[in-house]
């Protein structure tokens, strides 16, 4: 990713993240969050994680944000009142944030990868193709499609991710299924209403299983 683009998207991400916190109106905050996440998705794509970038937009900007906005509308939440706003508290929060940021900076200063640039570690197509062919010969499932794409110098990200996900991370996929089931059960019960009136909270459950 060219440097100007990188700077643009990072600024977008960071700036709107700060805006989420600074904004008093929850609807505005939610919308800022969407923009921030779009910037983040762009950064992902810049790091050649195309699939993750798309998922980020789909899940967050699509599902989660709609859910947020839906709940905000449902509860008819107005702006936080100004009267409790306290400078000391804000200062304290910012101080902790900056402190932790300094610590992280201090750590990264000594970190080798912190100084590398993407060009130092190009994707090594030849090596990858050789290895994949060897794997395929020894019986491990390798997507021929993806290998072909690699030959053309393209990173067929979705195929590679899918390969990994369904080959290696089968167990985790099952766990995630259980997790979503738990979340669905929970959201349905927590959202139940006393009267037989239609329950509004259960929409959360549907969203959870969607993601």
């Amino acid at each position: 990713m060219p440097l100007p683009l990188f700077i643009l998207f990072s600024a977008l991400t960071l700036g709107f993240a700060v805006a989420v916190i600074a904004n008093r109106n929850p609807v505005t905050a939610a919308l800022c969050l969407v923009v921030s996440f779009v910037g983040l998705a762009a950064l992902f794509i810049g790091l050649s994680a195309f699939f993750i970038g798309i998922v980020q937009i789909l899940v967050y900007a699509g599902a989660v944000m709609v859910l947020f906005l839906f709940i905000i509308m449902l509860m008819d939440i107005e702006e936080e009142e100004r009267k409790h706003f306290d400078r000391l508290r804000t200062a304290g929060g910012i101080a902790v944030g900056i402190g932790v940021a300094f610590l992280i900076g201090g750590v990264l200063w000594d970190f080798d990868y912190g100084k590398a640039s993407l060009d130092d570690v190009p994707v090594q197509f030849e090596a990858a193709i050789t290895l994949r062919e060897a794997d395929a010969d020894s019986g491990i499932v390798r997507s021929a499609n993806a290998t072909a794409a690699l030959r053309e110098g393209r990173l067929k990200d979705v195929a590679l991710v899918g390969e990994k996900l369904f080959n290696d991370y089968n167990l985790h996929l099952q766990m995630i299924a259980v997790l979503i089931l738990i979340a669905t059960i929970g959201v349905v019960t927590l959202g139940k209403k006393d009267s037989p009136a239609p329950d509004s909270g259960s929409s959360g459950g549907d969203k959870a299983s969607e993601s």
């Binding site: 306290d86 000391l88 508290r89 304290g92 902790v96 610590l103």
Partner: protein, 597 residues
Amino acid sequence: MSPALLLLLPLLSVVVIFFGTKWSGTLSALVSVASVAGSLGVTLALFSTDSSMVAMNWIALGDVLQVDIGLRWDRLARGMMFVVTLVGTLVHVFSLAYMREDEAKARYFGCLSLFMFSMTGIVLADNLVMMFIFWELVGVSSYLLIGHWFTKASAADAAKKAFITNRIGDFGFLIGILMLFGLTGTVSFTGLENWLAGGHAGASAGLLTAAALCLFCGAVGKSAQAPLHVWLPDAMEGPTPVSALIHAATMVAAGVFMLVRVGFLIEASETAGLVIAWVGGFTALLAALMATQQDDIKKILAYSTLSQLGYMVMVVGLGSGEAAMFHLYTHAFFKALLFLGAGAIIYACHHEQNIWKMGGLKTRMPITFAAFGIGTLALIAFPFTSGFFSKEAILDIALHENKLLFLIAAGVAFLTAFYMSRLLVVTFLGAPRSEHAGHAKEVSVIMFVPLLILAFLSVVAGYKPVAELLQAQLPDVHWNWFVFFVSLATMLAGAGLGFLRYLDKRSEPKVIPVLANKFYFDEAYGWAVRNLQDGLAWVVRGLDALFIDGLAVGGITRLTEGVGCLFRRVITGNLQAYSYLFGVGVFVLIYFTVFLR
């Protein structure tokens, strides 16, 4: 068959009673009696074996601390076990009748079994830690039994008093154990003996003396030696069979037993021995004096127990564990006999305990009278009863070791004869002095059979072949005419004086307030405790305010709530405060981990 069975039987009974047969008093009683009779049988069957066994390894921490649950089955344990199980069996049987109408019979017998379990544990323990645990269990079961009629305020108070007084002694015991462990690195009796034999004692004689005295503190509490004797007379609030079993024959003897078990330590330290001997002698004299002026039949016997325990402790201090155990063994029979006899009298007189409201029971309860008389004779060391032999041994040793203590012992013998004849005369002779005494009838078979068995033993137990057979410890003393005459003279003088003075009297001829009020021990303690408590409460409150509220809790609360004092105004323990603290925690943790090295 292994000695472990002795522990299992009563434990089984406890479990069965508390988890199974609690609803039925009679069934529980039968379970309990069966278990104790079984224990007696096992003891007899194991008389010819001699073994020490390790049942299991309880705590094993490298080479630092080894505690085994081990059992020791030597002659000392066998003799003691025989006394415990035999008296236990007879008391159980006697209780069947005595507690027939009690509502909480199941609890009573459950607690008796618990007591038998703990007592067995003390006798069989092969190390101090195990002994201490059972020692505490004995304290607990004794507490439960004294407080059996807990709805009666005096009984509940007596139970509490016994418990607390014993804790004071046990504290010393625990410190003693820790000191010994620190000194020698072992808590097992064998290990301690080996350590002493290894000749390490010289370097740390002072510490050894202190440790021995600390252990003695435990015995002072459990065997009710002065100045911790105050609980035993009060403990007579419990049912009379309980008094017979644990406050006369077995539990209070546990202190003496423990001292004999660690006798090798006392022998190693002259000072400790001397202190122990004097405490014993002093207790014997004090208790005998107090006994002369009591009106409650059980209290008289309680003080007499104190005084006899004083004898035993004294002679342990003088270096003869055998004589102490021999006296313990004879004393167990005749004192249990006297207590059960007193129980029979009390039962017959509808729970009247004041001897001045009895009288003339000789004709109404002839069998009880005979048995009680034999017990009295044994206690006052009438020649050729069992008590005579053991007291003879004690006097003989005292004569050789310490003339002053011999004089005290002789004086106590005189006093014993005096107060026992007083008891006998006032209770059984003369005319009935109350309606209950007038209507008294002889007790049932189930009650007087144990009396007769004990009476028989009180007479014959002292003879050498019998004692050998029953695995008692026999002191190595020779016939000494001087001791014999002193003993005879004091006995006759005391008994004669008692008879002359109390025959046909209707009330105490001359009250000596100091003795009747037990030297004002209770009052003094009450005063001291009250004042001390107030003072202590004041100090504790101060400390509490300073440390707990001020520094510890207050400080921590302050720390939690306001690492940022800045935010105290806004943050009041809500979620934001928590997330703030979380953030600070992360900061501190990362800083500490990564940068502070």
